[in-house]
């Protein structure tokens, strides 16, 4: 993990002090609520349905056990004893009273954490591959570049008030596990024919009301120049992005409207920075800086390749649950003798991504015992242990099971992505959690889940798409009609992973379903798949082959309220 320097520490403390000053001026009435709003947002403080929500940045998903323990303390002391991990690898609290906000920021700063740029119309927290630095298919470790990008984007003075939010995702592997083409900027680290490291740059992806897949703008930007290239993109966006309509303000709209002219503007701006600006060379990343940051991402002390084949120390009569867990929750590692292990945050009785203070402490203890105190927050809202010895797997499974992290469902239907929805979020049109609960109950039988196999179910409570419904094999979108909750169903979306196919938006099937129909509709989709699939065909492949027609017919058949309404 990146090790904070004194500079980083002083910086986060300065930010906490600045926020305290702003909060105090707000509480004294000197700074009106409307004008305080963008300031608190850029520190992660929303005002939601019940109370403020705090989004804590977990840069590119890397979390230490000490940080997780501090988050547990905050959850217990200031919140109602839990937090929610998000698709953007962050953590959200839901119940902290705003007057205590500055105290919480101080506690976060004490463990090198903050909420800087987790909201607002600025460059948001950078996201990456949860398997960064450990994936067998990795070309270049993205973490040092993510950290350099984090530092560059932190309190960038020119880009704090963009037309709209701006999200950057980075991957360095052949497999895209970060949904990069769904981001304002997607970066793919690679090596050219000469073996030099650079970035393939995509721009203008995004979800929301107008889902768009990012376009390739540059095949190869040498790593030294990437900050300048991003500066060029963001400057063109800041100058020319629409500000008259919040729904048309993301960079994707500018890219679509301008097409090649946008690319030309970026490339001219890039050239102008390098050739005309004062001290342009100073913005190039130096080898010394890359080396300094990379030194934080070497193997943890004590981690060294061990001969494989010594097994996992499980007895021959290890339970089926363990075998399944090994199959679903354990992933290959670039180091011989090591594995990456996912702690599932998808279990009955808790909303997807939710974790109690006690569970946070249990996860921290497990990470300390089995993974050198390191965890990752995954895009799919789980926790991942990056440094597990294969020989520890059985012991880890027992510990994970005791702490309710061992549901062997990674990649299955109950491992769904879901936003907090209308139970918490002030923006939501409908609740997400009850839908997630119903799906978890209906597919509680693991045999059935295994039979259904790999599937991405994504649930968003509104068109802002925090639950990534556009990219789900099955997508559920909450909509509001005349004050009632309705749910639109989409099929065939993809996050851009190899298994899911090229990034694409799912297709809507039929009119929205009533709240008491949506789970039946999903069940009908699954039943249709099981009936129609060929041997070994995965859900997403069946949807591609069959099209939406048979699924639509099946879901129409379960309509009750909507059938009556449309009769």
């Amino acid at each position: 993990m990146y090790a904070y320097t004194d500079f980083d520490r002083q910086f986060v403390r300065a930010r906490a002090a600045q926020f305290r000053d702003q909060l105090e001026r707000n509480l004294r009435g000197e700074l009106g609520d409307d004008e305080f709003r963008p300031l608190r947002l850029q520190n992660g403080w929303y005002v939601q349905r019940h109370a403020p929500m705090l989004r804590v940045a977990v840069p590119y998903g890397e979390l230490s056990s000490a940080q997780l323990r501090q988050l547990a303390v905050i959850a217990r002391t200031f919140d109602r004893g839990y937090g929610h991990f998000t698709t953007r690898q962050n953590l959200q609290f839901n119940w902290i009273p705003l007057p205590q906000a500055a105290d919480v920021m101080d506690l976060l700063a004490a463990v090198d954490m903050h909420g800087i740029q987790t909201s607002g119309n600025c460059i948001r927290n950078i996201t990456s591959d949860a398997l960064a630095g450990i994936a067998p298919d990795e070309i270049v470790d993205p973490r040092p570049y993510c950290e350099i990008l984090r530092q560059w984007s932190t309190l960038h003075p020119e880009f704090a008030f963009l037309p709209r939010k701006f999200k950057i995702a980075v991957t360095g592997a052949t497999e895209d596990r970060a949904a990069t083409l769904w981001h304002d900027i997607g970066l793919h680290l690679l090596k050219n024919a000469a073996g030099e490291v650079g970035f393939k740059v995509f721009v203008g992806g995004g979800m929301g009301r107008t889902p768009v897949i990012g376009s390739l703008i540059n095949e190869f930007v040498p790593w030294q120049q990437i900050l300048v290239y991003i500066e060029a993109i963001v400057r063109v966006y800041n100058r020319y992005g629409r500000r008259d309509n919040a729904y048309k303000a993301r960079i994707k709209i500018l890219v679509k409207a301008e097409g090649p002219r946008f690319f030309d503007a970026v490339n001219s701006e890039f050239a102008a920075i390098l050739t005309r600006d004062v001290d342009a060379g100073a913005q190039l990343i130096t080898q010394a800086e890359l080396d300094r940051v990379s030194a934080s991402f070497v193997l943890p002390a004590g981690v060294k390749p061990v001969p494989a084949g010594f097994g996992d120390n499980a007895s021959n009569d290890a339970p089926l649950a363990y075998t399944r867990w090994r199959e679903r929750n354990v992933q290959l590692h670039r180091l011989p003798g090591y594995r990456a292990v996912t702690l599932s945050l998808k279990r009955a009785g808790q909303a997807p991504g939710d974790t109690t203070d006690v569970q946070m402490e249990q996860a921290a203890a497990i990470a300390e015992r089995f993974s050198h105190g390191e965890l990752r927050v995954t895009h799919e809202q789980n926790l991942l242990l990056p440094w597990v010895r294969e020989s520890d797997l059985f012991a880890l499974w027992q510990a994970a099971k005791a702490a309710s992290f061992a549901t062997p469902n990674i990649g299955l239907i109950t491992d769904m992505i879901a936003c907090p929805g209308g139970d918490f979020c002030g923006l939501a049109n409908a609740r997400s959690i009850p839908v997630a609960e119903q799906i978890t109950e209906r597919f509680a039988d693991l045999d059935e889940q295994y039979d259904i196999g790999d599937i991405d179910l994504h649930i968003s409570g509104c068109i802002n798409s925090c639950g990534h419904h556009h990219s789900g094999h099955i997508g559920v979108l909450g909509v509001d009609k005349d004050g009632a909750e309705w749910y639109q169903l989409t099929l065939g979306g993809s996050d851009g992973s190899t298994a899911s196919g090229a990034s694409v938006t799912g297709k809507v099937i039929g009119p929205s379903f009533a709240a008491d129909e949506i789970s039946d509709a999903i069940e009908a989709v699954i039943a249709t798949y099981r009936r129609e699939r060929t041997v070994g065909e995965r859900f997403i492949d069946s949807v591609r082959r069959l099209g939406t027609t048979p699924f639509r017919a099946a879901t129409d058949a379960v309509r009750q309220a909507t059938a009556a309404a449309h009769a």
Partner: protein, 162 residues
């Protein structure tokens, strides 16, 4: 950072009885609208320095040839969360190497001060209700920043190496 008191500002707009004068005569410390400047720049003597108010959707680079004749460029924040003028200021200083006054006008609030300073503004006219003391305090929270800016072009990693 210079804080402009509008009652004691030595720059004055060229307003007629009711409307802006279309072609004001040459006069020191005249703060012109961009259209006025375009109308008079061919006629004004080159040694009379003008000030010009530039809307935030103007391509600032189109002013490049005029810069030696401009002593003040007032950039605008019609809404404080509209950040286009930060890019204009940055380009004026770093690309066009403008050394005259760059002033922030419009909805200029306390908490914008660090951003204004770092993107090259050297004068601000605060919105009337804003506290001068809080504005000055807002400039003092951070000793240094990560990325280079107009004040210090070196990012922290270059400063560290130096």
């Amino acid at each position: 950072m210079k804080f402009i008191d509008p009652d004691h500002d030595h720059w004055h707009t060229a307003i007629g009885d009711d409307d802006p004068m279309p072609t004001p005569g040459p006069c020191a410390n005249r703060l012109l609208a961009l259209e006025q400047w375009h109308a008079v720049r061919e006629h004004w003597p080159r040694d009379v320095k003008a000030g010009v108010v530039v809307p935030n959707d103007t391509d600032i680079e189109t002013l490049e040839l005029d810069l030696p004749r401009l002593a003040l460029i007032a950039l605008q924040f019609p809404k404080w969360v509209d950040g286009r003028a930060y890019s204009q200021a940055r380009l004026l200083r770093s690309r066009l190497r403008y050394t005259g006054e760059v002033r922030a006008t419009g909805e200029v609030l306390v908490d914008m001060l660090p951003l204004l300073h770092r993107t090259g503004f050297d004068a601000v006219q605060l919105r009337a209700d804003q506290s001068l003391e809080s504005s000055q305090r807002a400039l003092r929270f951070f000793a240094a920043h990560y990325q280079g800016d107009v004040q210090d072009t070196q990012p922290v990693f270059s400063r560290r190496a130096a």
